[in-house]
Structures are given as structure tokens and as C-alpha cells.
Amino acid sequence: MATQDVVMAGFGGQGLMAIGKILAKAAMEEGKNVTWMPSYGPEMRGGTANCVVIIDDDPIGSPVVKRTQAAVVMNKQSIDKFEPTVADHGLLVINTSLIDRKAARDDLKVVYVAANEIAESEGGAKAANMVMLGAYLGVTGATKPETLEHAIEATFAGKRGNLGDINVRAFRKGLEVGLAARG
């Protein structure tokens, strides 16, 4: 596994930036080189925001990539924008809670996740991003799930309430979906 790269995209506020950071952090903990690169569209809040995470054993050149191996999309605009840029035979993780269409390409491996519903069932719709992250990780194995859970916990450590727990649980649910899809 020389390089892994993924774009994670959705509305501002859906927490895509956060799961990108968690993924990058986990990979770093496993000794990899990583970059996390955010991009905000020219639109204002409410517009689409995305980040690209690259994980590599070697030093990373460009932190931006035109075609990513995978895309994790959480709203309609994002699937429209990023489905076409996934590399041939790449991976597309779709949040079906907010996206009512199927993937258009047929060369892709596509994982459908009802992320919001799943998250809600775990105690918080806000954790939908974690479900998506889990699904992505399940399919790709970009890092070990344990490292990633650690990274989630570290992120929510010190925050009020049991946010860490909820998020980890949401992540695990997503992971299951991903592992299943991996086949």
C-alpha cells in the first residue's frame, strides 16, 4: 500500500474536515507520512467544503490531487462534483441519508451508507461523519481500526459529555458496513 488518497466532501458543518484530520492523525501514529488539505469553495457558509487526505510511506509531493483513489461524499453537490474525479476503479462512499441518487459510474466500488440514520441510532446525528469514516476505513484498511479509534477518542478527550463514546460507536457501525462491502 504505497499511497492512499481520499477526498471527503459535504456541507460545511457536517464534519468532513474533522474526519479527515482524524484519519490523517491515525495514519501518522502508524508512522506514515500524511497530508491533510482543506478546500473551501468560493461559496459562503452552507457551501461545499472538502479535504483531501494523503497517506504514504514515502515523502508526499503534491498535497492536492486531481483524481483521488476514493471519495467520501455527504451531500448532493459533493457527489456531483467528486464522483467524476475518482480514479478508475476507485471507491465512492455515499451518504444515502442525504443523497438520493445512485452512483453514475459503473467502474467504481460504491458503498452506500445511511450515515445519518445510523448515527442517530447511536445517539447523535452529528456523528454521521464518523459512520462515513468507518465505512471508508472498512473498505480500504487505510489504518488499523484501533489506531483510528484512539484518534477519535483523543479528539474528543476533554470535551463535555460522552461525545467520544458516541463517535466511536458510530465509527464502528460504519466500519461494519465498510468491512461488509469489502467482501
Partner: protein, 356 residues
């Protein structure tokens, strides 16, 4: 603990590195895309007994730097292109008054208000025209977050060593990107501060920090003294990276900052396809690594400058190559970031035209 790897945004890593380099005074004014620097400073500096102060403008910020620099402390500001333009006059005063400080410019698209996307449109502004009169600034351009971190300590040392403001020039990409970094142990170097204005010690000479010398003969002497320093800088402070240059590739890309990283990815791809391409990456934009580049001119058939601008650093490349080899340019501007694919295509096309 200083050795732990941390995942940090370029901007925040720059701020933390500055603090660890002993910079406990920050004066600045918000502007995207570098707001994390003042925000980080406003959180962290009070913890280390330092001072974060939001200036009323960039003009005020650079003049606060004058005061703090004159008082003999390590001090910095950071801003982005239009904000930096407002510092021009003050920066020239700092050179004239021989006041050390670090100025970080995280460039955005211009001219004018432009946009807030990454850019390298201020190369000319920082290396040539930053303020009036005869003067220079060392300009360091990091390509990775780790390099930015290491550069902050260097920048403060250079500022103190030469008593001249030092610029760290990043693009929006390096500012916003997260990468793992480790922070170096703080350096042990100390610098003479007896020239600072901290109160005249009884019986000692006073310290007056100024750039006014009404007699032109005296001013000329002063400027010549400054240029002695600049000459030393040109000798000692040229920095660059030559990457994939060992096999004397016929095509050499010149690029700095994040653009150089993107070029590296492109070069990897090109080499994988059998194209021999190398990279010359200036780390110091001023002094431009003239001597380093000169050693590669003969062996190279084509230089291709790539920048996030309409072509600014490439003029320095042309100056060095001096007509001996073709120097071409390709770039994106206005906040557009060159892609690996585009660079690969550009190189292929141009090599083909070269009859490679």
C-alpha cells in the same frame, strides 16, 4: 517531548515554532488565509508570559514591530498579500534602522482584493519592491510544514544576526495544509543586544535607532554599510534543494514552495515513464541561489519555471541562466493550483518540442 510528531496546520505550526524560537511578542491584524497564526498566538502567548496584541491595521503592526525590535526582543507579525503591501513603508524603515523581526506572508490571489486562494504572486513584492529605497530582505520559502517549522528558528536567527527583518514566504497551501511535524530543540545561539533602546545606562552611550541621516554623505555610508551585510547574505545565505539532479536531467523545473512539491510528484510520474526531469528549488528567494543554479546550467537543456503566478521567480532563473539555455514558464494564477497532470503534460510537450 519536543521530539514528538504532531499533526499540525502550517499556520499553527509556524506560530508554535516561532514561540519555541523565543518569539514572545506578536503584533498583527487578521487576514485570510493566515488567521490561525494570530489566533494561535492569542491563545498560546499569554501561557508563556508573552504578548499577543491585535494591531489596528497592518501599518500599525509593522510599526509595533519597529518598536519591539528596537527594544531588543524577538518579535513577529504575519499577514497576507494586501496586508503585507501595507507594511512596505515600515519594512523599509526597519532595514534602515537595522531592526530585526520576522514577517510571515501567506500569499493569496491578487492583484487587489483578488481572492483568498493560494498564490505565489508576491515574489516580486518580497524580493524586490518591498518598500522604498536601496534595501533587501532575506526571504525564506518553505515547501513542507516541517520545513516551515525549521525555518522559523532560522528566520529569527538570521534577523538577529544581520539586524534586518527576515521574511518567511508561504502560499495558502502550506498555510492550510496539515502535516506531521517535530519541533527542533531551541538553539543555543545568543545575540548581542547592547544596541537596543531599553533605557540609557548611566555613563554609557545612548542608543538611537533611526534611519534618518540628513547628510547624504552620511546616508550613503550607512547604505553602504547595509550593503556590506547584504553582500555577506548573498555569499552565506543562499539556500536551495536540487532534487533528482544527480543524473544531469535535460529538463529542470524551477519551482519553490508548495509548487515545488507538486512538481516533485509530477517528476516522479515523468521519471516512471522514462523522462529524466529534475527540480531546482530555491529555499531562499532572496538571496536567490545564484551559485547553486549556475552549476546546473551547462548540463541542462531546458529550464521550465513553474509558479502560482504569471511568472515572477522565473526572471531570476533567466538572470542566472543568462541566455545560455532556454528558460520557459508555465503557471497558474489567481488562486488556481497547478496539478500534477498539468505539469506532466507541460513537461512532455516541451521536451517533445526540444526533440528529446
Amino acid at each position: 517531548m519536543a521530539q514528538r510528531r504532531m499533526l499540525m496546520k502550517g499556520t499553527e505550526a509556524i506560530a508554535e515554532a516561532a514561540i519555541r524560537a523565543g518569539c514572545h511578542h506578536f503584533f498583527g491584524y487578521p487576514i485570510t488565509p493566515q488567521n490561525e497564526i494570530p489566533e494561535y498566538m492569542s491563545r498560546r502567548l499569554p501561557q508563556v508570559g508573552g504578548v499577543y496584541l491585535q494591531a489596528e491595521s497592518e501599518v500599525a503592526a509593522i510599526n509595533m514591530l519597529c518598536g519591539a525590535g528596537a527594544a531588543g526582543v524577538r518579535v513577529m507579525t504575519s499577514s497576507s498579500s494586501p496586508g503585507v503591501a501595507l507594511m512596505s513603508e515600515g519594512a523599509s524603515y526597519m532595514v534602515g534602522g537595522e531592526l530585526p523581526a520576522v514577517i510571515v506572508n501567506i500569499m493569496r490571489g491578487g492583484p487587489g482584493l483578488g481572492d483568498i486562494q493560494p498564490s505565489q504572486g508576491d515574489y516580486d513584492q518580497m524580493t524586490r519592491g518591498f518598500g522604498h529605497g536601496d534595501k533587501h530582505f532575506i526571504v525564506l520559502a518553505p515547501s513542507t510544514v516541517q520545513e516551515a517549522v525549521d525555518m522559523m528558528a532560522l528566520a529569527f536567527d538570521l534577523a538577529d544576526e544581520y539586524r534586518n527583518p527576515c521574511v518567511v514566504l508561504g502560499d495558502g497551501l502550506i498555510g492550510q495544509m496539515m502535516e506531521p511535524v517535530t519541533f527542533p530543540e531551541p538553539s543555543e545561539r545568543t545575540f548581542d543586544r547592547s544596541w537596543a533602546a531599553t533605557g540609557k545606562k548611566p555613563g554609557q552611550r545612548r542608543n538611537i535607532l533611526r534611519s534618518l541621516f540628513l547628510d547624504p554623505e552620511v546616508l550613503e555610508k550607512h547604505v553602504e554599510k547595509l550593503f556590506e551585510k547584504f553582500k555577506v547574505m548573498e555569499l552565506k545565505e543562499q539556500r536551495y534543494e536540487a532534487w533528482m539532479m544527480d543524473d544531469a536531467p535535460p529538463v529542470v523545473i524551477s519551482a519553490y514552495g508548495t509548487t515545488a512539491r507538486i512538481a516533485k510528484s509530477a517528476i516522479r510520474e515523468l521519471r516512471a515513464e522514462g523522462h529524466r526531469v529534475g527540480l531546482f528549488r530555491p529555499i531562499s528567494a532572496w538571496p536567490f541561489p545564484v551559485d547553486g543554479l549556475a552549476t546546473y546550467v551547462e548540463q541542462t537543456r531546458l529550464f521550465l519555471g513553474i509558479e502560482m503566478s504569471m511568472g515572477q521567480m522565473v526572471e531570476d532563473v533567466r538572470r542566472v541562466v543568462a541566455g545560455r539555455r532556454p528558460v520557459q514558464f508555465w503557471g497558474r494564477t489567481g488562486g488556481m493550483v497547478p496539478t500534477v497532470e498539468e505539469i506532466v503534460a507541460q513537461v512532455k510537450e516541451r521536451s517533445a518540442a526540444l526533440g528529446q
